[in-house]
Symmetry: C2
Subunit: 146 residues, 2 copies
DNA sequence: CAATTTAAGGACTTTTTTATCCTTTATTGT
DNA sequence: ACAATAAAGGATAAAAAAGTCCTTAAATTG
């Protein structure tokens, strides 16, 4: 469903949100450890997300990645399409060049419903809200370390 | 959502079903043309599906791929998991090694609902039924050629 | 201002997916 | 039996995704 890059990206951004709730910036290495992802790859993904303004970054000592009020509006949908594009929600799922209501592929109408469901779930909560749930202990970002 | 191999496989098998409804076997080349997929790649995928008994094949003149009563039970779910595996329905969508009701990832409960929906839609119709809809003209397998 | 810290950027490697090609094997019709 | 036909199998090539490494640039602190 999601590429590896996207999985790492989702976990990383939620982790940044969790840390930013208490005002802390976090470095790529710390993020990678806590979301159980390869560090250089995670750094690349974050680089891209900074360019796309989904998270902020600060160089130098005590720098790192962070989020603030200006990032509160973003949902998983924004994050997923920033990393994986919107192939999950648009275009023909069987790759037909012409696929429409008038000329539907065999999966057209059923896939449409599934996609609406996916889209709804990806837009329902903001990334910040997902982080609050991690903060609460309702959900987790990696296997709990002894 | 589906790999290229899976997209080609789905279209190819439905095409085989359509042709088998009127008793005709079809060769890899004909299939590839009609589902708008690369021929040798399509042939490879079909090879695999024959091993997995989702379609039948016959060598020699007038041979080709076909389906019969013994293949009627198969659904898209069977086909998709034969080609892409069941990563779409199982395992943590964020790649957590431990992800369960007690220890859920941030997407766990929502993804579960989506997956149930996906699973429902993939099991709702058999491949034969999808072929009947193509036969009816309700749906199509490729852009209509002149 | 110098040393240190941390992200940014670019080049590169590895693995997986996608795709092609050629040879072999089985089947059929003559 | 023989020629023709079509799938099976294996080897290989190309492209994309995943992952690494090294250098550069920016910011901070003493």
């Amino acid at each position: 469903m999601f590429s590896k890059a996207c999985q790492y990206g989702i976990k990383a951004v939620i982790y940044i949100w969790v840390q930013s709730l208490s005002g802390a910036r976090v470095g790529a290495k710390e993020i990678a450890v806590h979301v159980d992802a390869p560090e250089p790859f995670t750094a690349k993904i974050l680089q891209d997300l900074v360019r796309k303004k989904i998270v902020g970054s600060q160089k130098g000592p005590n720098g790192g990645f962070y989020v603030d009020k200006s990032h509160e509006k973003f949902t998983l949908k924004d994050l997923v399409s920033a990393i994986d594009g919107d192939g999950l929600f648009s275009g023909c799922s069987l790759g037909l060049r012409e696929c429409s209501e008038e000329n539907p592929c065999p999966l057209h109408s059923e896939i449409k419903k599934v996609r609406n469901h996916v889209l709804e779930m990806l837009t329902k909560k903001t990334l910040r809200e997902l982080a609050l749930e991690v903060n609460n202990g309702e959900t987790v970002l990696s296997r709990l370390i002894g």
